[in-house]
Amino acid sequence: MAAIDIKRVGKTYVGNVNAVSDISISIADGEFIVLVGPSGCGKSTLLRMVAGLETITDGTVSIGARVVNEIEPAERDIAMVFQNYALYPHMSVYDNLAYGLRNRGTPKAEIDARVAEAARMLELQPYLTRKPRALSGGQRQRVAMGRAIVRNPAAFLFDEPLSNLDAKLRVTMRGEIKQLQKRLGTTSIYVTHDQLEAMTLADRLVVLNGGSIEQIGAPLEVYHKPASTFVASFIGSPAMNLVKASIANGVISIGDRESGLRADLPNGALTLGLRAEDLRLAENGAGFPFAIAFVEDLGAQRLLHGHCSGQSVVVAVSPDLPLPSELRLTIAQERLHFFASDTGKRIETTSF
């Protein structure tokens, strides 16, 4: 068990391509950190630098009290779960689990005990003699997890471990990973591009974009107070509506139309963030006019896709709510998000 400290880390590839720049994250012992972002945001590079599979160009990575920049992966006391599992295809499940221990000269009896324990935890006992190709996707995933567990490392590193599974299994395995990590209390870094996976697993989320950190925070904090338009549109489903708006004397207009909402902000243009699930259908002719383009019924939810002043907006409503012929939208004042129209950064306000 150990804390991990990532200090001002950067990675520059040959030809001055900056994959990651100036990243600092302090990870507490036992914490579950999820690195989330679109592909190419540098999240895997960052993880691989912690693992020792990529060299670190700038900054330092410490595991426990030790700076590990120049230390071989095997000596870093970490275990990694790969996206394609990277099971040794010619070895049995038992040998896959035992290989790392054998290379470290662990006594045979202890290897047996540790493999047995991991197999019990992951319900892999019946498959120990099988080769990976004779296993289902979910079972292979468990073996990959097992290989990490038997080592009893200071940290688990997960590189999109669930993205090769079908949707249903992904949900199950997500739950199992979460429980297992809580039970073992091992510090974990988990990389994913799936915001739902990130929200459900993380103690803290690190949202990455273009090689830098957009926001670090607990899942709900990130959801409720996204630090930028990027985070706002990336976290949460459906994505937050971002509409161009302007303020004149504390009154918010969308397009050229006054919205009836107010904000204590200086005059000028800004981006207004509206979560689909915060928008309500207004009654009695109040609210902002909304023209429906099409409707998606998801069962638990009904998504109305349409336009307000020519800008697309999605509204989530209860499926059994009758739709009036003329729709108008309203939203609670405190549910508004404001972002600078040029930088996209969040603007804090005391809305009234």
Binding site: A51, L53, A74, M80, A86, Y88, H90, G100, N103, R104
Partner: protein, 282 residues
Amino acid sequence: MVEHRPFLKLLSHLVLILGVVIVAFPVYVAFIASTHKTTDFITGIMPVLPGSDFWSTYKTVLFTGLAASGAPPIGLMLGNSLIMALAISIGKIAISILSAYAIVYFRFPFRQLAFWIIFVTLMLPVEVRIVPTFKVVADLGMLNSYAGLSIPLIASATATFLFRQFFLTVPDELLEAARVDGAGPLKFFKDILLPLSRTNIAALFVILFIYGWNQYLWPLIVTTDSAHYTVVMGIKRMSDVTDAEPQWNLVMAVAILAMLPPVLVVIFMQRLFVKGLVETEK
């Protein structure tokens, strides 16, 4: 096939049977010849039906040798062929897999240069540069030796390429997992890469065994001492008798024996053979 046409099917069978018969015919004729006495060939036409001297012919070539052309017993030549074929195929596989490993899994100065030097060998069949190569082997004192028969033929660009292509398809994560699991370069090679290459090695072995066994020109020029003759070249020495017709029954028996081992390898390891053949050309 898309539709059912019995006539086409029948035609296919006929074409293939005709093909098989034509392809097999020379070997049939050779086998028949090997079951007759030498005197049966002096007059008239070669026999097309089996004779009764199968055992005596094969016993002669295997253990007695051919007095007329001073050829040693074939048993020895078969042994030499086997040694040469095994040395060439195992040697080629060993040095190729090591060099492919270096080229794919390491970065080092002159890597590109080394790769191109090996690549060049692909372009130069031994027949083309036979005289200077012979000189080198002679200068090294390797004439009339197993080393001289095999070592000059074991550099192989083809095998190196095959292994390189294969290694490039091995997922990167496997190496990464092994490194996290504490395996160094030699351990990774022994524990992971070598076992994964098993089928490729076997397929390559089949092709290279045939290649080694069937060498002709090279053994012909580097061996002058009959103790190192291989069977494929020996057969030629046997049929070359001055001022007389060869002892056809014996020559054909040797031909049958010379083709038997590689042909059996192809028939019994057809799947590996096809894989080896098709993939070494990629």
